[in-house]
């Protein structure tokens, strides 16, 4: 067994915190994309993922993902964090606890990503139930396939930082969730515009920043693969941005800010599975080429009846799939020390990348569809039309994002509840 390495551990502690920040960045990104009356609810769905997914991960999700090498699911040996301590995690030089915490942040953000499909109408309570079950039944299972010794990684599928569980997992689950929950009442009838593009840009920036921990930490060390993934995380989104600008110019003669924020996400997603496997040159090519399919889906999706509200499918599902397949062609043993792609002489790699690109979307879509249908039998998934019109902030949380305070009358501080009468007369 290897020893714990101080440098590796120090970096992984930082990387874990970086990935956790991404969920807040995502909250800001999503909140800016919705209408002002749904700002808080949208942000709160990301906060809910922080709450629920971290708990389910510690209770059982981590064990299902990372205990043993069963083909489909892991064991329950690490349930309740049993045997997760200071010794190095097998195959790494970092404490098992840090490894668990780092992986937990991945589960959290993936749950938060899915919420983008159902914002502005799904009931908060129903989302909490969904988040708890989804984090175990979908995320943990797919993480086991790709990271934890399951059938994909065992057969040689290359997925550096989560093209399978995180990106395709969230993207195709989002499509299923949008279909089950249904479109917003005004969808296709009224324009529903992002209410704060600055939030969107700032959120995208925080996500990119955090993504250096996400990809750069997925080598679990400060070794070559981490360094390569870290650097590629800078290069790929930059290329995606440039191409996105060009596509925007061709289509609308103007470069858009919301488009740029989207391009940052798409670029980061593209390099997520490929980060530690392809050369910086190919990473730049991936960023440029990979922009096209996601752009196409973003243009096409709003013309359909499917209200996959914040385009999780295009930004994460499609870009994740593109990245996974790209590895099959351009992986380079000289850079990654693991495997070559088709272009460098190994067609077998492409085969298992392709299988992952079919299996992951199919499982994520099917399982999420089923799960939401079952939850829907037990409780209503969405707010009523009247509540949707009022906005989810007031209806679900009793708060507003942009409260003026004018005309607000103090009723009581909770601490002095019985003094309510006296305080109320102070108006």
């Amino acid at each position: 067994m290897t020893e714990v390495n101080a440098g590796d551990t120090a970096w992984m502690l930082v990387a874990t915190a970086l990935v956790l920040l991404m969920t807040i960045g995502l909250g800001l990104f999503y909140a800016g994309l919705v209408r002002s009356k749904n700002t808080l609810n949208t942000f709160m769905m990301c906060i809910a993922a922080l709450a629920v997914a971290a708990v389910t991960w510690a209770l059982v999700g981590y064990s299902i993902a990372f205990d043993g090498d069963g083909a489909i699911v892991g064991g329950l040996g690490h349930a309740f964090l049993n045997d997760v301590g200071f010794e190095p995690r097998e195959g790494t030089t970092i404490p098992h606890l840090v490894f668990m915490a780092f992986q937990a942040t991945f589960c959290i953000i993936t749950v938060a990503l899915v919420s983008g499909a159902v914002v502005e109408r799904m009931r908060f309570g129903a989302f909490l139930i969904f988040a708890a079950l989804w984090s175990v039944l979908v995320y943990a299972v797919m993480a086991h396939w790709a990271f934890g010794g399951g059938w994909l990684i065992a057969n040689g599928t290359l997925d550096f930082a989560g093209g399978v569980p995180v990106e395709m997992g969230s993207g195709f689950s989002a499509l299923a969730a949008a279909l089950v929950v249904g479109a917003r009442k005004d969808y296709g009838r009224q324009a529903m515009l992002p209410h704060n593009a600055v939030y969107v840009l700032l959120g995208a920036g925080l996500l990119w920043f955090g993504w250096f921990g996400f990809n750069g930490g997925s080598g679990f060390s400060t070794g070559n693969s981490s360094v390569l993934a870290f650097t590629n995380t800078m290069l790929t989104p930059a290329c995606t941005l440039v191409v996105w600008f060009v596509l925007d110019l061709l289509r609308g003669r103007q470069v858009t800010a919301i488009g740029a924020a989207t391009a940052i996400i798409v670029g980061c997603v593209l390099i997520t599975p490929a980060g530690g496997f392809i050369s910086p040159g190919w990473a730049m090519a991936l960023g440029a080429l990979g922009a096209v399919p996601s752009y196409a889906v973003i243009v096409w999706r709003p013309r359909t009846r499917v209200d996959e509200t914040l385009d999780v499918l295009a930004a994460h599902g499609v870009a994740g799939l593109t990245g996974i397949l790209f590895i099959g062609f351009f992986a380079q043993k000289g850079w990654n020390g693991v495997a070559d792609g088709l272009v460098y002489g190994d067609a077998g790699t492409l085969g298992w990348q392709a299988i992952a690109a079919v299996a992951a979307p199919a499982y994520a879509f099917g399982m999420t569809f089923l799960l939401l249908r079952l939850i829907g039998l037990a409780m209503p998934l969405r707010a009523t039309e009247h509540e949707e019109a009022l906005g989810m902030d007031i209806v679900q949380h009793g708060e507003e994002a942009y409260v003026t305070g004018e005309g607000a009358i103090l009723i009581a501080h909770e601490a002095d509840g019985e003094a309510a009468k006296g305080v109320g007369s102070r108006v």
Binding site: G398, E406, G407, A408, I409, L410, H413
Partner: protein, 117 residues
């Protein structure tokens, strides 16, 4: 020539705009206002402080119309703005003394008639 002032729920503003459009009433201003019309107060809580929101967000439409468009404008406001709950808003119709279209200097009836192309 009248000024029709309609105060409606913000979430019904789009429905009102659609109804006005269908009634071919084209000249409209709207503004966000806060008001109170006897509806139930909404209670919100911020960090242990509970407040009653005495004023509710409303949208105020101002529509200057020639006499034959007064009833269609009122109908559109009612049709688009009604939910049946307390707080749907009010409509006030007041006489309009003068109206001037700034671009052309046209006055009164000419000024409140939409430009036809």
């Amino acid at each position: 020539m009248k000024l029709v002032i309609g105060i409606v729920r913000p979430e019904k503003a789009n429905d009102v705009l659609e109804a006005l459009y269908r009634a071919e009433v084209r000249g409209v201003s709207m503004s966000r206002v806060q008001g109170h019309g006897g509806e139930l107060d909404r209670v919100e809580t911020y960090r242990g402080t509970t407040v009653k929101m005495g004023l509710a967000e409303k949208v105020r439409f101002e529509i200057a119309v020639s006499d034959e468009f007064v009833q269609p404008a009122i109908d559109a406001l009612c049709e688009g703005g009604r939910t049946g709950e307390v707080g749907d808003g009010k409509i006030f119709v007041v006489d309009l003394e003068r109206a001037v279209r700034i671009r052309t200097g046209e006055t009164d009836h000419g000024a409140v008639t939409p430009v036809r192309k």
